[in-house]
Symmetry: none
Subunit: 206 residues, 4 copies
DNA sequence: CATGAATGAGTCTTCATTCAT
DNA sequence: AATGAATGAAGACTCATTCAT
């Protein structure tokens, strides 16, 4: 029978170290093996605990992995500079560095591949990493717009996608890992958003 | 003495319908289930053949899936228009339509997730779909450059990535499926590449 | 901190009954079915455990079977008599009885048949049953030699082979199961080894 | 519909070369792989025919293997000498040579192991190889008895088993392949059967 | 006749999950 | 709480055999 006395748990408290070890091992293995290929045995031995200890905390494999993804802190604090270009490049390079550090493309691939079966994975990834990073970029662009460095009528969301997008596109093309990509993307977007806009091809959208 | 009449193989010929059914089922299931989750039983019953019939053609699961991916024709012929913007948008929209049609993001996710275990998948995807599409886009841009609609010194590869990238970035952000994305991406890139370049932020790369 | 109380392993202990049941079932089936024909399903259901329980103890089918063979105690303690002939006959009859009890000829056949693929089987059979039994026989003969009942220069190894060999030869000839075989073999060997040796047909070997 | 015109078979006659190739390949593989492990595919490719061609001749795997064993001629004509010892040694050495040549111990093992499932195998082996060889040995011993080189009351069957048996016993003991075994066995048996038998340990059999 | 295709039954092994200590 | 045992449900791959050409 379960102890229901709340506020003061009876018995030995769950080890916080094991908590962390499990989540860290799970995230790492999720990236390197993918959802289905990763086994709880692998997680258990990587975390130095028994399989049952995992099940004690997470009822199911999917639970564990969503928790692992939720616990991941993958968007570092933005860099506090002043220049628009510098700031954008910094965010993008931090993005690339983070992805590389955690074998992120495989992780992203797993979340995409599992979208039908475990939609929480992609949702979490979005909420925890994608959207915060986009917010960072948009903020910089908004400040630039207020500073007159960006056209007042510029649509910022497509610009953000044009900043981040080349990373994915390059990876898919086998052009990943090129250090210049961030600067090139920023330059391209800033060129497109430059204020003196007179009458380029950019017709108003239908 | 062996039959020497060449060109007419002995025995029952292999059913071409089954060939097709197997590859089609495999591709479909690869996209909807992912590499590991998809089972040969599923493929067999989806294709209406026995499991052994699959093994007769493909020694291993990996073989089957690479063959299925290789057989997929996913880059349609380019649209024969004249206008730069129209052509670029057409390629991008065909891209998006194809991805949607074959549950492409899940497929891409699978290939990414499996990169460590079955690198052939991503390699094939690249060779068969990504690179051809990039070539299409680059060709259009080159013609535009010759026609004076694009700066002569423009670096085209980053531009291509800026055209395709937003598709991925949008999807990751949960903004996928918006019909305007292609036009927005094209307009942004064309704006950046416009010829009268006088003095934008684009400092020369280190 | 890990539990350091040694000698008392954590978790549920492995059932010794299941251990025994598995090994017994495996040995039995190895004899009745042969190596390849015997399936883990058969072992599992004969032992009243799940297949996974077997795999928990033995990583592979070969492991299981070598363990089963190794665990088999098939050479009973020698009979403590005094008379040479009686002792030899006793060892041989115990041999025959053991072989019959465990369907031994089929087991021996399996080990021989598998020699190329799983040499451990025959090696174990040799080490655990053949050689100990030979040692028993040789010991009796050595004592007989010391007691003057056997020629001093007699070569004992061939004599041992002549004692055991008829069992195999009879079986191959379809003459297995005859109860007199042991006494006949012993008599023949003792006759050949009798001491008054003057100069019979036994010419010295080249 | 099957052609039933007997005496004059219609259609192309079955290739005798293929017949032989199939049987030879089957026997070889039966020895090297064992009954269950050997596959019809292996036989087919070793014989250079298709699997169906095998089934055309032999309805089932067991049929093929019994036929292969039946076709094997493994007892060479007896050596035409005069001396008892020489003749016995010759038969035994031919026996050992044949066994070695056809990987015979594995073949014997297979027949023993399969005795419960395919008794025909051991029966054939017996009829075609064991019993003929025993007949050869007995014949030599009978002539020796008539020539007075062997006790008149000697029981010959046990003697034959004592001649052949050491081969099996040695093999089981890991002493196989020793060239002296045949002479040692013959010497031992002849010593036991020598005529001047007055009063050795060999008490009359019960 | 001869061949290659097609298949259904079966095998070892893996794994998420539940139990007992 | 933590651990190791136990298990049922798959899954990829094999093989003897039957079909179609």
């Amino acid at each position: 029978m379960r102890t229901t006395k709340i506020g003061k748990k009876a018995g030995r408290p769950r080890s916080a170290e094991k908590d962390e070890a499990i989540l860290a091992a799970a995230l790492e293995l999720l990236a390197t093996q993918g959802y289905v290929r990763m086994t709880l045995d692998q997680v258990a031995s990587a975390a130095g605990v028994s399989k049952s200890t995992i099940h004690l905390r997470f009822k199911t494999k999917a639970d564990l992995l969503t928790a692992a993804l939720a616990a991941a802190r993958m968007v570092d604090a933005p860099p506090p500079s002043g220049d628009v270009r510098t700031d954008l490049v910094a965010v993008l390079e931090d993005f690339a560095a983070t992805v590389e550090r955690v074998n992120g493309m495989a992780l992203i691939g797993t979340c995409l591949a599992e979208e039908d079966h475990t939609p929480d994975l992609l949702a979490l990834l979005r909420e925890r990493t994608v959207l915060p990073r986009r917010a960072l970029l948009r903020e910089v662009l908004e400040q630039a717009r207020e500073a007159g460095q960006v056209r007042p009528d510029a649509d910022l969301e497509p610009a953000v996608s044009a900043l981040l997008g080349p990373f994915y596109a390059d990876y898919m093309a086998g052009r990943g890992g090129r250090p210049e990509w961030a600067e090139q993307a920023v330059d391209l977007v800033l060129a497109a958003l430059a204020p003196q806009a007179s009458d380029r091809g950019g017709r108003p959208r239908s």
